[in-house]
Structures are given as structure tokens and as C-alpha cells.
Amino acid sequence: MSLLIRYLPLVFLAAGWELAARLGLISQLALPPLSHVALAWLEMLKSGELLANGASSLWRGGAGLGLAIVVGAALGIAMAWWQPVNAALGPLVEVLYPMPKSALIPVTVLWLGFGDGSKILLIFLGCMLPVTLGAFNGARGSDQALVWSARSMGASPLRMLWDVVVPSALPEMLNGIRTALALAFILLVSAELIVAREGLGYLIGFLGANGTYDAMFAVVLTVAFLGFAADRAYQTLMHRLLRWRE
């Protein structure tokens, strides 16, 4: 019930959309009625178009983000723990962090072509730094007494890193991953819009170019919903992982 009330504005927006298009307040070419969009969505679902392109996008996004999390976290913790690593990579991270990663789209295509590889590389490169910075800041904040406690209880330096520094870094690292998750969607759809032969972003561009706007809107809404659902699921996971914080 409270869920319904919470999302009531969305219901109003949907009704407004439908009315505006039906009453001709906005041209149906610019904004097809929501009901048409829903029908187009069902048709694409039945034809398998949505699932095939969705699976392709999911694979690219998942692989790129997964790599970014693993490599980014390892890099951030290594930078926080070994001064030489920080000295070597710190300035690089600083300079690259604010760069708009979509600028890398042509570069990754040049290197790896039009297929999955260039998208995965782009998402990996674009999503890694927020994870790295989160892990770095979190690991740097590890309590000295915790580190010493683990060592005095017989943990080797490497074991201590895993037992103390990684969990200490977790809260900030998980925040970094949340940023990376949002970035992954942005980069994925942009890259697929510009250079791809499949994927949800490609589908949006293709349908738009063909003038099938109801279907195009259906895919846009699908991407929006996937982004929302992923963030929600991630927040639930984060909450579970950090339940010790109260």
C-alpha cells in the first residue's frame, strides 16, 4: 500500500502522458501514447527481439562491471597499503578520474572492433576508477588497532589484509560500486547507440532511425526500468553486507 502511494507520481505521469498524446496536446510523432508503447513492448517481447538484445547488453555490462569491481578493488587496496603502488598510480588515477569516459568509445572500437569486446573494455575502464577510489579511501581508514590486533592473533600480513583491510574498506567500496553501476548503464547504452549491431542501445537507435517511435520508447523505458531495478537490488545487497553497522 505504502509502495503504491510512494510511486503515485509515476502513475500520474503515465496518465498525463497517455492523455497528452491522445488529446493531441503533443504530436504522436514526438510522443506516442503510452498504450501504443506498451503494445509495441509486448510485440518485441514475443518476437524475441527484446530478450536477444537485452541478453547481449546484460553480458557486456555484467562482464565489464565485474572486471571493474575485481580489478578496481584490488588496485585501490594495493594503493592504500603499499606506498610505491600509490606513488606510481595515484597521479594517474587523479588525472583520469574526472575524464568523461564516453570519450573512450571510439578508442575502444579502434582497438577491439564493433563487437562485445570494445563495450566490455569501455565499461571496465569507465567503471573501475570509482571502485578504486572507494576501496582506496576505505582501506586507508583501516583502524591501526584492528590491524595490530589481527597481527597479534597470528594473522600473516597478507591474511590480515584480507581479514581486516578489505572489510574495513567495504562500506566506501560499496558506495563506489554503486556509482560504477550507474556509469555502466550510461556507457553501455551510449556505446551501443553509436557503434553496435545488437544490444538495447543499438535497438533504440535502430528503431528511432526507422521511425517506429512507439517501439523505441518501449526500449527506452525498458532500459530505465532495468537501471532502477539494478540499483534497488544493489542497495538491498549493500544493506545486507553492511548489517553489522546497524
Binding site: 588497532a145 595490530w148 597479534s152 592473533m153 597470528g154 594473522a155 581479514d163 546497524e246
Partner: protein, 271 residues
């Protein structure tokens, strides 16, 4: 002076001519300890007492092997200290519990490194949780516990691995007065039941006199051992803290610390 036969009645810890230079990340290095020599006997309860900033915690960290001994030497059971280890358990002022582990998992952590079979570990962890009076809180996270309960958990965790010596760094300094008194008498009871060498850092004169067999009074920075006071009180008497002998001893020790505390304060006021 028998310094090398640690086995038979000799000192368990020998500290000889130790200096320690503290190098802050920014600013000038500070001499924290100057020519500190001290011996700790097996199974004695020794308090390191001094004003804040006198380097008493630093000395404890050197014994723990958390900081390297640069000048002088520290022997533990006859061998120089090379890094931290489970033979020297430590309890910190701010508990240093793993916040992502429950009480039980915190106590089990150290035992897992020691290798007894799982069932035995669980039993041992439980017996030490019971010993410190935390029965029923095994599955609580530190964030759900009071300060006193957190420190009980930390003590259980350290005692469970049965270290040869217990290093305590102002362990009751972050607790409220009532909890502090309660914890002091409980620690004394645990120690009397199974005596273990304890090096206990504090700036609280009453606490030092109440708990320790000997009180090593340190000077303001740079920290040196000013004098060592033998405490001759009947610790089995539950009312010892009200006896005139106790009050006189506290007076005597306070007289020794007072000048140092004033010096420490002046040093802080005039940079």
C-alpha cells in the same frame, strides 16, 4: 643481575636502554622514550603509570612488536622481539573488535589461527564468553554492545588464545566510572584465578595501585622510568580500596606522578 636465564625465575621481559623516536607524518621527530630499562617478572602485574604523552603506550607497542625497537633491546623469554605474535595478547583502549564480526566470531577469530579442531574451538570460545559474563550476547555485533561489553569481548578474545603475557593499553580508559570500577575488580579476580604476566598502561593512579604488584612511574616526555613502587597490599581483601594502607600508597604514588603531570601540561601549553 641475571638477564639471560629467562626460564628459571628470571625476568620474562627485559628492556634495556630503549630509546624511541616518534616521527609524525608532518613536523619534527619527537623523542618519545629515552633510555628506558625495565624488567618484568613472570606472573607479575606491572602497571606503567605516567602523564598522557609520556610514551607509556609506545613502550607497550614495542613489547607487542607493533613498532620496531631501534635503539636498545627488548627480550621476551630471552629472545629479542621480532614482530607481533599470539604469545603476547593485547587489549586496546578502544576495544579494537572487528565490527563486522559477532561477539562469538570475534573470540573465534584468534582461535582459528591456532588450529584446535572446530568443536574444541567453539567450546573454548563459549567458555571465555561465559567467563567475562557475556552469555546470551554471542550473536550480537559490537555496534549493539555497551562500551563495557565491548571491552569484555576484547578481553575474552585475548584470553582465549592463552597468551604468555597480557598487554593492556588503558583498557578501561574509555568506560564510565562505574563500569570501570566493576571491570577493574573483575580483571583482578580473573588474574588471581589464573595469574599471567600483565603489563598494564594507565594514567589513573588509583587504578594502578589497585591492580598492580609494581607500579613503574614514568616521566613526562621524553618518557623515562622515574621510579618503581612495590605495592604491598592484600588484594584478596574486597575492601582493600578503602584501607588506609591503600590510601597512603595512592598518595605516595600520586606525589611521584604529580610533578610529571604538571610538566606534561606545561609542555603542551608552551610549544
Amino acid at each position: 643481575m641475571q638477564q639471560h636465564n629467562a626460564g628459571s625465575g628470571g625476568p620474562q621481559i627485559v628492556i634495556e636502554g630503549v630509546n624511541h623516536l616518534y616521527r609524525p607524518p608532518a613536523g619534527r621527530p619527537v623523542l618519545a622514550l629515552e633510555d628506558v630499562s625495565l624488567q618484568v617478572r613472570p606472573r607479575e602485574f606491572l602497571a606503567l603509570l605516567g602523564p598522557s604523552g609520556c610514551g607509556k603506550s609506545t613502550l607497550l607497542y614495542l613489547i607487542g612488536g607493533f613498532l620496531p625497537t631501534e635503539t636498545g633491546r627488548i627480550l621476551f623469554d630471552g629472545a629479542p622481539i621480532a614482530g607481533p605474535g599470539p604469545d603476547r595478547g593485547i587489549v586496546f583502549q578502544h576495544f579494537a573488535l572487528f565490527p563486522w564480526k559477532t561477539v562469538r566470531a570475534n573470540v573465534l577469530y584468534a582461535l582459528e589461527k591456532m588450529g584446535p579442531p572446530r568443536e574444541q574451538r567453539a567450546k573454548r570460545a563459549q567458555s571465555f564468553i561465559d567467563l567475562v559474563g557475556l552469555t546470551g550476547f554471542e550473536d550480537s555485533y559490537p555496534s549493539q554492545l555497551s562500551g563495557g561489553m565491548k571491552q569484555r569481548t576484547a578481553i575474552a578474545r585475548t584470553l582465549a588464545i592463552d597468551p604468555k603475557i597480557l598487554l593492556m593499553d588503558e583498557p578501561f580508559g574509555a568506560l564510565d566510572a562505574q563500569t570501570r570500577h566493576l571491570m577493574q575488580s573483575e580483571l583482578l579476580a580473573i588474574w588471581r584465578k589464573s595469574p599471567k604476566t600483565v603489563v598494564f598502561v594507565t594514567h589513573d593512579v588509583q587504578e594502578a595501585v589497585y591492580l598492580a604488584d609494581r607500579v613503574a612511574v614514568m616521566t613526562a616526555r621524553p618518557g623515562r622510568i622515574k621510579t618503581i613502587v612495590d605495592i604491598r597490599l592484600d588484594k584478596s581483601d574486597p575492601n582493600v580500596a578503602k584501607s588506609s594502607a591503600f590510601i597512603d600508597t595512592v598518595d605516595q604514588v600520586w606525589g611521584l606522578v604529580r610533578d610529571e603531570a604538571i610538566k606534561a601540561q606545561e609542555a603542551r601549553l608552551s610549544p
